[in-house]
Subunit: 522 residues, 2 copies
């Protein structure tokens, strides 16, 4: 699409040209990127290596290291510069599952679907035990179990039941939902949305009390040498949402073995015991801790800038490569990682020599609190706690993130940076036919663009179709390659590559919000 | 509801009274049944014993025997007469799973979700093997594997992929769907629907060829002493649809061990191998065959009739109690069994002294071809092959069946018996407020009412809301107590009890279709 034609289209769409006239879109390059991204894609091959071949990619695990090493090698093969695993500081222990078997054996045999909670120990061989229902509203209620739980499996009562779903697992944004997003008024950043007095609310007090009770119970169970804790997972129909059961810190205290158990299996055991039936379980769980290298690593690589003045400036893209441990983290977030790798490949393949430097970063330990990106920012750009900035803070034009599953890009969140809105609107224009057209003044949180946003660097996450991310894949044992949608990933990589191209070549850097103030120390 | 009020309602609804005037509805008894069924229900307690406590109820298994014995005891406790396990003839071998563990160990450890196919043997201890991809379009293609599969795990290529679902797992019939059912024209019985020339069609030839090829492969694998066959199950997200992998006949040849593997796990292994990656598996499967008693049994019990003339006549209700083996068959068909048991309990609890005898039958081996009900019919009522009838054939007024999951009753299929339509329409009238109002001239198949229908005895299956029967529970590892909906089961039991009451007290038996002719012997 030629530039004057593009402008005609914008005029037809009733959009003024005063801003857009300053945002040239290179139609020829856009077309080259589309051809490469949509017709010569390698994104599914990349995703295959990150998921099936590498395995689960829990922070600090051998699986993550395999994926990182593959990514460094592949980026280098594709001709990127400075590809490496870059240490960002101390993370903690690595961990992986090396055996996972559990079944009830009384009143009859039934193998259960259950996943060891991350960073919990194993059973040290085959455990066989009656399952004991722990009834404790207060710490002193635990006294009655003293001396009785050595080697025993325990379970807790829950008020939750499983309901069949009358809503589709997978959805795409409707036109009206996208229109509503486009009409959203600018929002304060997410950090400011939580009421300041939440910490004093009854809800927070109740949460804190429940957490303290659970911590006390777990300490009690460890001290009593309980053999296995069964806890109920979120999810149904065989889908198990996973979490961690202990800290990854090298100084963390050991805990009792704990299995996050599918709702169906957990509730069956619970109903049987509450119905007066004896339940016995056998389990053989082996997990391995790794303490030889406590560092966390990000993968970084570059396409160096070629403009004398602008090459010191950087366009960054990224997504976290780490996952949870029960599957291969295909949608969370091999998808985003594969798309970002593919965007780099596309830009190399079309022979792009950028004015600004382009840098990809695949983060680690995002799932534990955005550690990889936060520490990258701390090491290179400045400290959001003190707002003491390093020189490079002023040189990152923008950071683009992808971490909301396999869904195609429908637009972008401005994250409060309203001046970027008209620019992005123009950049999305050549991709309306691929379903990406919405610029929302709304924010989104929960992932690594926040680390940049916290330091006043324009940091963006794209709007993606939700699909079955929230219902079936996000943090579950079912987050596998199967759930990736090839056409969506191709579309996303193509659009990201185009955004990177435009950001790298733009006359100016992306306009910034007012620099945040350092948080007050209380 | 008083009779004249009911008739007024029917008039208001625009329905003529000429037929309905002959169908009195006892409003007081209907109210008593509703009170007992909706407010004093035991249906969930019954379902708990049939599912959680008894375990899987595969035909011939110890789990089915436990459930049958519990049902006999409970029916007796409730005051039914002649409650017993009644043998119906030779079934075959019992079978159950006693250990089920499998995981890939190379390229990394990952425990897989997989279910031994029914009536397949175990691995005789821990099997460890590379997974070999069998490529064979013809029998002779197998030659290249001769002597190479001893103790090996094998897998086959498939063209299937997993797609996320954009439709809700669970649904209820909409008003318009029910209206369409109500307006259905009378259908020929299901047996007559398949075109006579299907047996000569290319599709049938292809099916037969594929089946023959698979049988030949399985024989080859057994002869080569293959260690484990992996086959891909239908289903996704952890839901595994199960089948049998060998015959239950006591004369059946042994086969190789076979695991029906979740789609996600199967396809991961397949992608890895096809992508040039070595995959190793370990599995420890133990299954047990039972040959001490090859008989099949149904559970039967009665509320004897009290009218001198009519007590020889019988109203029958039933559903199959057997299930598949990977879960506890809650919706298929503990639900129908629990509802029928509850209907009997309700009728006893309201102090009903029926004119005709009421008989419940909980069938076995339905899943293998309606064997329990077919043999009951053969033993007591006549032979549908020859149409030689026994005297009791003329004395069964009607048989009502429930076997379509946990969904509440929305109406009834006439199964070609159009004369029963106006009667049932009247009987449903007091349950319009509970969502049951539709009489359809359509048929439904696949379950035990067909055994009665085949002999000219009015046999009916109720219309039930589908819920997640087809998507998540029917024959799967996720058919558990959790999927039962209490309100739906209470409603169903109440309506069945009312139908039984009306059938038992009606002046005449339910009108019959023209007696089918004996099938021609070719």
């Amino acid at each position: 699409m030629k530039k004057h034609l593009l402008l005609s289209c914008l005029l037809l769409a009733g959009i003024g040209t005063s801003v857009y006239a300053q945002e040239p879109v290179d139609a020829a390059m856009t077309q080259k990127i589309r051809e490469e991204g949509l017709k010569n894609s390698k994104v599914m091959e990349t995703a295959f290596y990150l998921t099936d071949v590498s395995g689960p990619r829990l922070a600090g695990s051998p699986g993550l290291k395999r994926a990182q090493e593959w990514a460094v090698g592949q980026l280098t093969k594709w001709g990127m510069a400075n590809a490496k695993r870059e240490p960002w500081g101390k993370f903690g222990k690595g961990w992986e599952v090396q055996k996972n078997y559990a079944a009830i054996t009384v009143p009859y045999y039934h193998a259960i679907i259950a996943i060891p909670k991350a960073w919990t120990p194993g059973t040290n061989g085959l455990l066989k035990s009656e399952v004991i229902l722990i009834k404790a509203d207060t710490i002193t209620d635990l006294d009655k179990y003293k001396g009785k739980l050595q080697g025993k499996a325990v379970i807790f009562d829950v008020a939750i039941t499983i309901k069949q779903s009358f809503k589709a697992d997978a959805t795409r944004y409707t036109d009206s939902a996208l229109t509503a997003m486009a009409n959203t008024k600018p929002q304060a950043s997410r950090q400011q949305q939580r009421p300041a007095d939440f910490a004093n609310s009854p809800q927070f007090a109740a949460m804190r009390k429940a957490r303290a009770m659970r911590t006390a119970i777990n300490t009690f169970l460890k001290n009593e040498n309980a053999g296995l804790i069964l806890s109920m997972s979120r999810g149904s129909d065989g889908t198990v949402f996973t979490t961690n059961g202990a800290s990854y810190a090298d100084t963390a205290q050991t805990v009792a073995p704990e299995l996050e158990t599918s709702g169906e299996d957990y509730l069956r055991i619970l109903r049987l015991i509450k119905g007066g039936q004896k339940v016995e379980i056998e389990a053989d769980i082996k997990t391995q801790f790794f303490t030889d290298d406590l560092q966390g690593y990000n993968v970084v690589a570059e396409i160096p800038g070629t403009d004398k003045k602008l090459k010191e400036q950087v366009v960054m893209i990224g997504g976290h490569l780490d996952s949870w441990h029960a599957a291969t983290g295909a949608t969370d977030n091999a998808a985003g990682s594969a798309v970002m790798l593919e965007a780099m490949r596309i830009l190399k393949a079309v022979g792009f020599k950028p004015k600004r430097t382009i840098r990809i970063a695949l983060w680690s330990s995002e799932e534990q609190g955005l550690h990889g990106s936060r520490n990258y920012v701390l090491n290179h750009l400045g400290d959001p706690k003190t707002m003491v900035l390093k020189p490079e803070q002023s040189k990152i034009s923008a950071y683009y993130n992808l971490d909301n599953g396999t869904g195609k890009i429908r637009g972008i969140y401005l994250q409060g940076d309203s001046a970027a809105g008209p620019i992005f609107q123009t950049w999305l224009d050549p991709f309306k036919d691929l379903g990406a057209a919405t610029v929302t003044a709304g924010n989104t949180g929960g992932t690594d663009h926040l680390s940049f946003d916290a330091l006043g660097i324009p940091g963006f996450q794209f709007i993606q179709d939700p699909l079955d991310y929230g219902t079936r894949t996000h943090h579950t044992n079912m987050d596998t390659f199967d759930k990736l949608i090839e056409d969506d990933l191709k579309q996303a990589a193509t659009i990201v590559a185009s955004f990177v191209y435009n950001t790298a070549q733009r006359k100016d850097m992306i306009p910034r919000k007012v620099l945040p103030k350092a948080p007050e120390v209380k």
